[in-house]
Symmetry: C2
Subunit: 144 residues, 2 copies
């Protein structure tokens, strides 16, 4: 039986071997699973990106968040160019085993635009309003 | 030029016509975009689901969150069976136009397991620990 069908009926504090759960994760046709990064203390949702199994295992082994870049088709160690890394505080898996929530400690901006969060385009009635300002000029982020 | 490339360089408070932004949203090969639901006041991440363009437009028009169910291949008005609806407080679009963040007011549990959040499987070293208890027995949720 699928692990996530079993864990639905489990109780708070129940523990299972991690390998059993990871074996039943649902990756999509491209071998990817969506991962939400949330700042662990403030609760701010920073970004949504993707992991393949290798990125997920590296993240758990190193404690530093590694995604899979769909555009570059390679592992993407968050912050490898910009220095704006994510330290993993806790990983959570959803009820169906097809999405991840990463509680992280984000150094500086998570977004390539220099903003703290990627979710800065805010819908208000019939307009879209920019909700935040860059913390750092993106040219400075990638010049290093 | 893609709207989201332009909005990267905009400033806090700048406004644009919503239609221009929505026209440049990136749906995947199945016509879907991932949508994170976050409880607007507590910051708790409740779930990740998917929207097609019709679900997105219905959500904006009605203020009640509607997803697209990949398993049932139809619109999924969150709470239509369980009564546990999501009222939309604000929709945000990410920097690339390929993910949505829904700030919502969730009635009761978001998860079909009866738990408030779908992200109750918590990774701790080599185990997976159940992080929360159902608010409501799922049999009661779907018996109505």
């Amino acid at each position: 039986m699928n692990f996530f069908k079993t864990s639905e009926h489990a109780h708070k504090g129940d523990r299972f071997p991690l390998d059993t759960a990871l074996a039943d994760l649902k990756f999509d046709a491209h071998g990817l699973i969506p991962a939400i990064s949330q700042q662990y203390d403030s609760g701010e949702v920073l970004m949504l990106a993707w992991m393949n199994r290798e990125a997920l295992e590296e993240t758990l082994n190193t404690g530093r968040v590694c995604f899979y870049s769909r555009s570059r088709q390679q592992l993407w160690r968050k912050g490898e160019t910009s220095g704006q890394i994510q330290r993993l505080k806790e990983m959570r898996i959803d009820c169906d085993g097809d999405a991840l929530l990463l509680l992280v400690d984000q150094t500086g901006p998570a977004c390539h635009s220099g903003r703290r969060s990627c979710f800065y385009n805010s819908v208000h009635d019939k307009s879209l309003e920019i909700a935040s300002e860059p913390l750092i000029d993106p040219e400075d982020l990638y010049r290093k």
